[in-house]
């Protein structure tokens, strides 16, 4: 995809593999079986987090990179939300 000139954000939790195979733009996802989700969050919090994730991926395709680069998603509220979900 990137070779075809289409900047592509790969959302995955297997970031080390994505780096090894040379994917230029990598965004750390929520989990291996649910890259764009986190079932431990409450539905509202999960949707809000997914929105930040996709927003981040969109910022990443607008960001120049020179080599495989990992981008993290701001996880504000996430630990508290997780605890709240477990409580």
């Amino acid at each position: 995809m990137e070779r075809a000139g289409i900047p592509t954000a790969v959302i995955t939790n297997l970031v080390s593999i994505a780096e090894q195979v040379g994917a230029p733009r990598i965004v750390r996802g929520g989990g291996i079986p649910y890259p764009a989700g986190d079932p431990e969050l409450k539905p509202d919090a999960e949707r809000a987090w997914r929105r930040r994730l996709v927003q981040r991926a969109l910022d990443v395709v607008a960001t120049p990179v020179e080599r495989p680069t990992v981008f993290e998603v701001p996880t504000t509220n996430k630990p508290e939300a997780t605890e709240a979900a477990r409580a």
Partner: protein, 345 residues
Amino acid sequence: MRVVHYLNQFYAGLGGEEAASLEPRVVAGPVGPGRLLDQLLGELSGGAHRIAATVVCGDDHAAATAGVTERLLELVREQGAELLLAGPAFGSGRYGLACARLAAAGTAAGLPSIAAMHPDNPGLGEAGRAPVVAAGASAREMRPTVARLAAAAVRLAAGEELTGSDGRVSRTVRLGRIVERTGAERAVALVLRRFAGETDVTEIPLGGFDAVDPAAPVDTPAGALVALLTEGALVPAGNPDRLESARATRWLRYDVAGLDTLAGGEWESVDGGFATTAANADPNRLVPLDAARALEREGYLGRLHGEVLVTVGNGTTVATARRFGIEWGARLRKAQVQAAILTAT
């Protein structure tokens, strides 16, 4: 013999990437690298083999259009071809796929055919029973590559089977032979050499991953047409198109225009490589359509592409995955998609 040559738009002199959607067409006589090929064929055969016509197709069109190989072969046939030569495609993926598929179709139809490409070209796996001879990695090696193709063409035209000594890199018949040491002995010897620090020794070299040059970024996501892609095997419930759960041989595309979300129960993942419970309960966890649609509505994302491209990455070979990447890239470029989000499990 009457030779028909296949070239992409670039080598035919009809344009670069901006002309990659060019539809199949026929040009009289040899063009581009065909001139050198024609000259060498003439010299080697005493003028018996000459290029009568060149069939040309744009790389995106050739890699991403259903039925294009049949159409190209039809054009080759209409020119009265007795021998078909495709390429050299060097390391170019889309061009390599087109050359390999055309040569495979020609061979299957009884027309002697040869493609030329670099041994790492992902097209190589698509050549079927057609002979593929090695090309250099880039057009800098045009002359020796074309010389090899011309020599192989003369041998094939004489009814001979091409082998490794012709530079053949596509599948050949394997012949058994007696070796002095058993597999067990050779395996132990390899382990000992590894202990001694020779970490690269092997009898079976594995294909490596090639370096990818990152694409230039889009100016702003707010102005971009963006596609969602996944290798997590998300398909409509019931898997109507029978996507494999592992070792994919193909990919699918699903229309999501007008959908605000991917509803549980309507979509499911058939990936055999991870627990799909969470993704099936809310398929947006696998393909974040709901969030992307909301961002599109708010103007953060320019426009969402109408189809999601899907395959399964579980146990899929690197060569197959590279082919999918080339086909996805070509298809999305034709649709003028500017950026993509690919979820990977």
